[in-house]
């Protein structure tokens, strides 16, 4: 994958090189590369090839801002549309999150956290919105994951989750929206950590 640090920013994706690396012909490699280019992970320059395009700090912040706003929309819509079953599932997921925090199980937390957000997207009652959120979430996944390694972040994140669920239970869309906005937003320490990890990824 591009995130593994296997590919640096600006690096050219050589078709023949990748072809022999995966022991296939150029054709499927080209198709795969074009998919990358279309999803924004690489930039295609006609007759010149496609180049890996790691998002810079500015673009990352922008993406997180959009993610926060999209999730806020989900929350606002979900506040009036969410089902009781889904609310129960959010609670259950949150409890499993809590257990993971107690067990210092970062990966477990990560998994349940994913689930939490997926449920939220689904409960927006708008499957197109759900799709778009999932797409961006996936794109930000590696950067999001890094944040969880911050000291004390797990516990803090848990509290934010609970605030979100509480707002949803009250049916207060604006409260839920602002709660998730600050949950996702990149700011302060998180930003610095993000910058640091970016530097690391560039090496």
């Amino acid at each position: 994958m591009i995130f593994d640090g296997t590919f640096a920013d600006g690096e050219r994706l050589d078709e023949v090189q990748l072809a022999e690396k995966f022991a296939v012909s150029r054709t499927p490699v080209r198709e795969a590369i074009q998919r990358l280019a279309l999803s924004g992970l690489a930039e295609q320059i006609p007759r010149r090839g496609v180049f890996v395009r790691q998002p810079g700090p500015v673009e990352l912040i922008e993406m997180f801002e959009v993610m926060a706003e999209l999730e806020a929309v989900c929350a606002r819509l979900a506040a009036t549309r969410i089902s009781d079953a889904a609310l129960a599932e959010l609670h259950a997921t949150n409890e499993r999150c809590n257990a993971a925090v107690s067990a210092q199980d970062a990966d477990g937390y990560y998994h349940e956290n994913e689930k939490f957000h997926a449920i939220l997207y689904r409960q927006s009652g708008n499957s197109f919105l759900e799709q778009e959120c999932s797409r961006l979430h996936k794109r930000l996944q590696p950067f999001r994951r890094m944040q969880l390694r911050l000291r004390g972040r797990l516990k803090q994140s848990m509290g934010e989750h609970e605030a979100i669920v509480a707002a949803l239970e009250e049916g207060d869309g604006e409260k839920a929206a602002s709660a998730i906005r600050s949950h996702v937003a990149v700011q302060g320490e998180k930003f610095h950590h993000l910058m640091a990890s970016l530097k690391h990824a560039a090496e």
Copy 2:
């Protein structure tokens, strides 16, 4: 194009057929088709081919809802970030819109309307958000355009534009957001018109 009514929903895109139609080989046709599939205009089923996927009424309403929310975010962010020059440009665009309305020039109005929204996206100060908005806007373009043919819609739309600009001038993000939300939202007559046009597109 897919919108021209050339391709009906569910129709298979035959590679060889398109290849000889455009007098090229299958390879570039395949690449083009894959691009369509990735942008959501077609669905690819492995070993079965790709099929045109016109959005149904439900999906269209969902997309318009997301568009409304995204533009609302743009407006809210723009309210604090917009430049005086951009505000002036919005005013100018709006006046040209007005002239087009007086001249019954639907195409002219359409063009200036595009500009209006483009400026708004830009002034969110978030180029990623700008990109995403433009993408969705382009996708909804044919359906949006149909709405403008509704009687009295041009004048009404104009008023909404002015309300948006006014809110931006006041720096009132929430007001601007809700103004643009109702501007873009699909409801009432607009919905029925949308449904009718969908039926027409399906024939």
